[in-house]
Symmetry: C2
Subunit: 392 residues, 2 copies
């Protein structure tokens, strides 16, 4: 138990954690060959671990983060650190992903800006940041980097891979690329193929970034950043992560000031406007605009159906061996329940072990990140089941 316990109402914290790095593909001959055919190297992956790896290395759970997350899933970097990792409510002693039982790993995804190689990393060919010379990467490429990290950590078989949204896509990808190296797959608020609606919002966000004159074709690292474009992109994202019901509850039509409407455009009228502007401003401090282009593109390219013969998700999952837990949320309109049901059907047709649950929640797509006892219990029970099957 750490002194941080009191900060998190849902239980104890893993306490002070440290960001670690692993680099590979240092020699051109060892370069990572991406799905696009491009060769990339060297590659550094930033990661954190919580809990202890068992002597026979069979208690490892890989947490996969979503679009703008990073490897800091739980704990604090220092005693003065005010904010814990992004999944503090789920990862920790006695929590849904129990660090007293499991060795939990989380790494920043390829192409993002959380310490793993991405467009803001130095391009060895020029000595300057890659910018748009960084190759377009896929969810599969992200998984390849994670697999290299597992090799490095000596983990032959993961007890579980777990993620929501883009993290869920990585979890599914793991089950197809490395069927022998993962026992349990937890896919939350996700899909087996990115929909036209989701692509549309991502494309508009990218257009907003690329319309910012400071973007300069992605080569902005030595000057002003395309912060206004990135803020608009984030605001779009935020609305798609919420729901009509959540927004009614959180904001309704409440005004920012107590008086009447401003009848102006440079004043804020509604609290929901103030919230969005704040989210946009906060986000540009921690996220790279080019990375936003890369991670959204990876999500848009995601399509497991296409992977099977004759465009069949059923065929695609014929090589999977893991047990699956699939969870959707009633008010998630970005990855609605029918998309999880399609996934479940494809898994069941392959006679795979699959549990499915649609959780009633009004917080939209964000629901998988929000403290939810039912979700924590589902994940805890599933991991326990997979572990006991593993042992037997």
């Amino acid at each position: 138990m750490s002194e941080y316990t009191s900060r998190d109402a849902s239980g104890a914290s893993v306490g002070i954690v440290e960001k670690k790095y692993y680099s590979f593909a240092r020699k051109p001959t060892e370069a990572l060959v991406l799905e696009s055919g491009t060769r990339l190297g060297p590659v550094t992956v930033a990661y954190e671990t919580y809990g202890e790896l068992s002597p026979n290395k069979d208690n490892a759970v890989l947490v996969l983060h979503a679009l703008t997350g990073d490897c800091h899933a739980a704990g604090y970097y220092s005693k003065a650190d005010a904010k814990p990792g992004w999944w503090e409510n789920m990862v920790g002693p006695g929590k849904g992903i129990d660090t007293d039982r499991y060795f939990v790993i989380c790494s920043s995804i390829l192409g993002s800006c959380g310490g793993t190689t991405g467009p803001c990393s130095t391009n060895p060919a020029t000595g300057k940041p890659y910018g748009l010379d960084f190759p377009v990467v896929t969810v599969g490429d992200m998984v390849e980097v994670q697999k290299k990290l597992m090799d490095h950590l000596g983990i032959e078989r993961l007890l579980g891979v777990v993620g929501g949204s883009l993290g869920g896509m990585q979890a599914l990808e793991w089950s197809l690329r490395y069927p022998d190296r993962v026992a349990g797959v937890i896919a939350l608020a996700t899909t087996l193929r990115h929909s036209a609606l989701a692509i549309a919002f991502n494309e508009i966000s990218r257009q907003a970034i690329m319309a910012d004159p400071n973007w300069r074709d992605g080569h902005y690292y030595d000057g002003e950043k395309p912060n206004t474009g990135l803020a608009v992109a984030r605001m779009i994202g935020h609305v798609t992560y919420l729901s009509d019901a959540a927004m009614r509850r959180k904001f309704g039509r409440r005004l920012q000031s107590k008086g009447d409407f401003s009848f102006q455009f440079d004043d804020i009228d509604f609290q929901v406007e103030s919230y969005l502007l704040h989210q946009g401003t906060k986000f540009v401090e921690r996220f790279d605009a080019n990375s936003f282009l890369y991670v959204t593109k990876a999500a848009d390219y995601f399509d497991l159906e296409q992977r099977g013969e004759a465009n069949s998700a059923v065929k695609a999952f014929s090589r999977a061996k893991a047990s699956f837990l699939v969870v959707s949320f009633t008010s998630d309109w970005l990855y609605p329940t029918y998309q999880s049901r399609e996934l479940v059907r494809a898994l069941k047709k392959n006679r795979l072990d699959v549990s499915f649950c649609e959780i009633k929640a009004d917080s939209g797509h964000d629901a998988f990140l929000v403290p939810n006892k039912r979700l924590s219990r589902l994940i805890a029970n599933f991991l326990e089941k997979v572990q006991s099957e593993n042992d037997s």
Copy 2:
């Protein structure tokens, strides 16, 4: 019957039409006093009429357009004109709003750019376009301008007011501001108060416009226009007007070129991206960025509940006298059916004559604009009923 009949599969056209103008408030003493308290004048209103006004002027139907529409609801401006008015499928001889029976009027709303006074009109104080010196207007202000036009046309009592979305808000506003001057109100795909979700999308659109360096605080009329910002705003709008189902049907994950992914950011991968970019590019040719700010703000300010005592929609409608037809569409997530039901409840509690119908349609909010036999029939029957009650 005109030669344009063949162009519109749903029936005959009103044929060649002409945009007309009416100006008022030419003297400072006659200025229009807006809801904000600001005085505005002179005001010009652009309008079109179809069909013939009956000798006792009791067959007039006022069509109210949505956010980016204008007074050109039906017909063509010339024989060479390739595109008819925006509601050609509904307004014409033998159609839902039958120009053989009714005298149909449609005017461009205040603050927009369809010929009625707005931010791109000349500010008499400076001799230059108003830009952001144009006062913020409300749905109520739009109705006041329409009422002036009705006075000018000598129409004491409208047989019907009909509109969808922002047009529906104007229709409801008519029933409260001028209960004795409207017999029937048709409110399609609308709401009695703009929701946090709808405000959020509007605010993001405005931010995208104001982030464009060409916007220059709204004073761009002598230079480059903020077209990239306006295009992003339009793309956001377009997605909110469609639905997940419509986008699956229209685009799915179909690629723009037959090959594989581009693995680039300057190429278009998906057809849905191409569609959105096309919509954005087309829109900036016909719409003014400042007007987009004004019309979205008017929608955001709309709240009939606030109008009643103790924030009650029921109280607000206590002064209404018209008959109502309220229509919602199953896949409209911008103004979902529950919002129409709230409206219907408030009307019924006032023992008003109200018909309500939720139409099954997968085309989202846009459904009210798409040819739909059931909608045409509902509107035709309602107008006929109101007319017969009027006569008796």
